[in-house]
Symmetry: C2
Subunit: 492 residues, 2 copies
């Protein structure tokens, strides 16, 4: 098996797929569209989970768990939501297999074991959760409810890609219930902000916060807030969404409460989620032709130590130093792996750790022992230095911070130089073809124009940025008046 | 709603169900047999997860994630496993809903969207995982594979009970692959031992380690190790199992490797799991007629502070002290909640925290402020003491350790006094009816005798204990020779 990746310039999409598989992040399974998340990929996801979970709890949320299945009658209760997901639902219709009378040793679905009501494998859990909340909420004293769940969901997508779009994926979904519209909107914005902070500070991915247009909104939402990131091929990726659901689900599931004046009112809702799709964003934001590049905060091993030796005596002496370094790093809360496998040569180990994005690599050979030094290589810049053992630990501490910041800065520079203001549809198309990235353009606010632009260019409105200056102008497509620019892009 | 629980003596089963619901641990959902795990219950499960996950990683395991669905052709490949689970499988047959032409606003399964091959919602993941391992394993260098997954599984049980037996439940399942039979057996035993250590040290639940008889073995296993606990009604509960799977799955999925001599051999396997069923074990081991009793290591809040006040000035002064105590406790790593809700009276708060099993409760009133004391109540013994503020923190630290140990000791005493040796079938039946618990008896080793005893008494062989002295005897039922005693019990 060739270890070399297809380069991004050669074939970006192929580069991505190869990287995911060769860096041991994930692979396709025997189930159409479903992936296997391998230990190395899962370890990165666990780091995301831990940090998000901490942030959710810090903002007052608790975890809970709701059923995998949604009875059809509940699923269809909120009509827009049901309509939005109906075409991509896995449906359980039977509950038993039996020996196949025609094929010895094989099984078949027992036709007698048909469910009275079909069960939908949750594509999202608003329906089952709001049906539950009805029994939890009587008065304003029961509000707010601030709950999150970590779960798997299934959306029967026809075209799937590892992490980016899979039939089953892992995510978290927050579902909150509030007394007032204002409080629910505040919550939806707060959680979108949590996502933005997480993406930028932890994943080193710059994002733009905005709201979706009506046609791009979550099915059943009144407003969808989002964070949008830009990948290295100039395509946008929606990295997280937070929805203000109004009273839609409360009305569909009859969830009322007695307010402070003693009057019955419907409850206000939000929901918000990020998924294993973030792994795709991570990969496509930072990685290069040599493989994955990981921000230190997400690296299962922040440092790897590779011994360079000719004989057992060398290895023994090197191992002693390596163990001391490892132990000193661990004391500082830095994760480190001593890679003393005797089944691989140093060159192969270097290539593997490069492919897997380990931020810092220490190599120690007999010469280093003599000199009291090590070779320290930085994954993001692919540069090496000779560092004295005396200053190694503080150097590493500093570098890990630098790398985290450098990755963000690099991605931010790319993103910011790939937001192009255009004022004519010719420009719009030209930029999309030659430079890609976000296109900042005036839009007349109609679904028709949005749909037409999508049809002609495949670009969609990624968001109406929250931070934007009001600027009068005319729609790039229709010439009708517009009050502000929105961001278009081709997207994942 | 009456706050009082049915007592254990009145109706044990009703006591359990009421406790689960009233202590806010879980409730039934709109989906037959599926539960909602509420935030308080889920917080306890999270503590179990965190500790188990730590123990798995410490023993060299990594987490990964495999698909929810198993194509029928893979599911049926290992015949015994398939046969064991065929009767309780949720089966996905379709992937799309459509508008129901007969019922406006309603949906129906789109008959055009039938899957070519049905998908089984995993009842356990050996099939999908071993089908994946085939591609991961070529040589002995690829072994061992030591993987765990945290997941939901579905077994379409006809009679369900919250936590104890639900159609969907949460669990972890370890799946390991090894070069040799001996190594796989060692792994299976190791993980059973991890479960035993976890149950005893963390959950304060004494368990007996043993092996299952052939008829009670996991479908597809060569040997099933288990930990068996005893509930307060004298019924046993299987709290965890670890299976030596031999080469059964390797053969079914053609997973071979080149061994050190360069010969092809089938890989040896184990799998092991514990589930949200442990919540049931936790509840039924320690709790009393006032509600849940939690070992401090599993308590979401180890200490709760309740202010007793008549006016705002009192509350303000009490709150100052309470915040200092809370902050001091947190510094010691003790979780604490200051319950200053103004919607509840102290009596109601006391009852709630008792019901929810908070190990220690501090009450502070104006008198206490004068005296520099607090009232400290212990949930397990329901005793109270006046404690000086000066010695409060060390007192609490000591008490939390004491409670953890006291709960284990109490459960151990109950368990040990409920293992009864019997030598005749009359005795066997009498003990089962009057005293219950484990019955230690000789058995002739045949499936027939085991089945007959089960039919006549509903007692099953819970395990052949690992620690047992060889003792010649005659089977309590057939009179045939036996080499050791085994443990019978009625079981959950």
């Amino acid at each position: 098996m060739s270890k070399k990746l297809t380069t991004r310039a050669e074939d970006y999409s192929k580069w991505y797929n190869e990287l995911v598989v060769k860096a041991d992040l994930a692979e396709n399974s025997a189930v159409r569209g479903c992936m296997v998340i391998k230990p190395y990929g899962y370890a990165i996801w666990e780091k995301m989970q831990a940090e998000l979970d901490r942030m959710f709890k810090e903002t007052g949320h608790q975890n809970a768990y709701f059923p995998l299945f949604v009875p059809k009658s509940l699923f269809e209760a909120e009509e827009k939501n049901a309509e939005g997901f109906a075409k991509e639902c896995a449906i359980v219709t039977h509950y038993r297999l039996q020996a196949d009378p025609d094929k010895p040793g094989k099984l078949r679905v027992d036709p007698e074991a048909k469910l009275e009501e079909e069960l939908i494998v949750r594509p999202t859990s608003e329906a089952i959760i709001w049906n539950t909340y009805r029994n939890w909420i009587q008065s304003y004293r029961d509000l707010p409810i601030l709950i999150n769940q970590w779960a798997n969901v299934v959306r029967w997508e026809m075209r799937t890609r590892l992490f980016l779009r899979t039939a089953e994926f892992l995510w978290q979904e927050g579902h909150t219930a509030h007394e007032t519209k204002a409080e629910a909107i505040t919550e939806a914005k707060l959680m979108n902000n949590v996502y933005a902070t997480f993406a930028e500070n932890f994943m080193a991915i710059p994002v733009i916060q905005g709201v979706k247009t009506e046609s791009e909104r979550f099915a059943g939402a009144e407003e969808t807030f989002c964070i949008e990131a830009l990948m290295q091929d100039g395509k946008a990726l929606q990295a997280g969404t937070s929805h203000f659901l109004g009273q839609n689900f409360a009305k569909a599931f009859d969830v009322k409460f007695a307010n402070k004046e003693g009057k019955q009112d419907y409850v206000w809702a939000t929901s918000w989620g990020v998924s294993t799709r973030l792994m795709g964003a991570l990969i496509m934001t930072h990685s290069d032709d040599f493989g994955l590049v990981l921000p230190p905060s997400l690296a299962p091993n922040q440092v790897v130590i590779v011994p360079i030796y000719k004989n057992e005596a060398d290895l023994e002496a090197i191992s002693k130093v390596a163990h001391t370094i490892a132990s000193d790093l661990k004391k500082k809360g830095i994760s480190v792996k001593y890679d003393d496998r005797d089944t691989q040569r140093p060159g192969a180990k270097f290539a593997q750790h490069e492919l897997q994005g380990v931020p810092l690599r220490i190599a120690i050979g007999p010469k280093d022992l003599e000199n009291g030094t090590v070779e320290l290589a930085r994954r993001d810049t692919l540069t090496k230095d000779i560092v004295s053992l005396d200053s190694l630990i503080p150097t590493i501490e500093g570098l890990l911070k630098d790398i985290q910041q450098a990755l963000f800065d690099k991605a931010l520079l790319y993103r910011d130089t790939h937001i192009t203001e255009v004022n004519t549809f010719e420009e719009f198309k030209a930029v999309l073809e030659t430079k890609a990235g976000f296109i900042s353009a005036h839009w007349d606010g109609t679904n028709e124009t949005e749909a037409k632009i999508k049809e002609l260019t495949k670009a969609t409105i990624r968001c109406i940025p929250l931070e934007t200056s009001n600027e009068e102008g005319v729609c790039v497509f229709s010439g009708l008046p517009s009050k502000r620019r929105v961001l278009f892009a081709k997207a994942y």
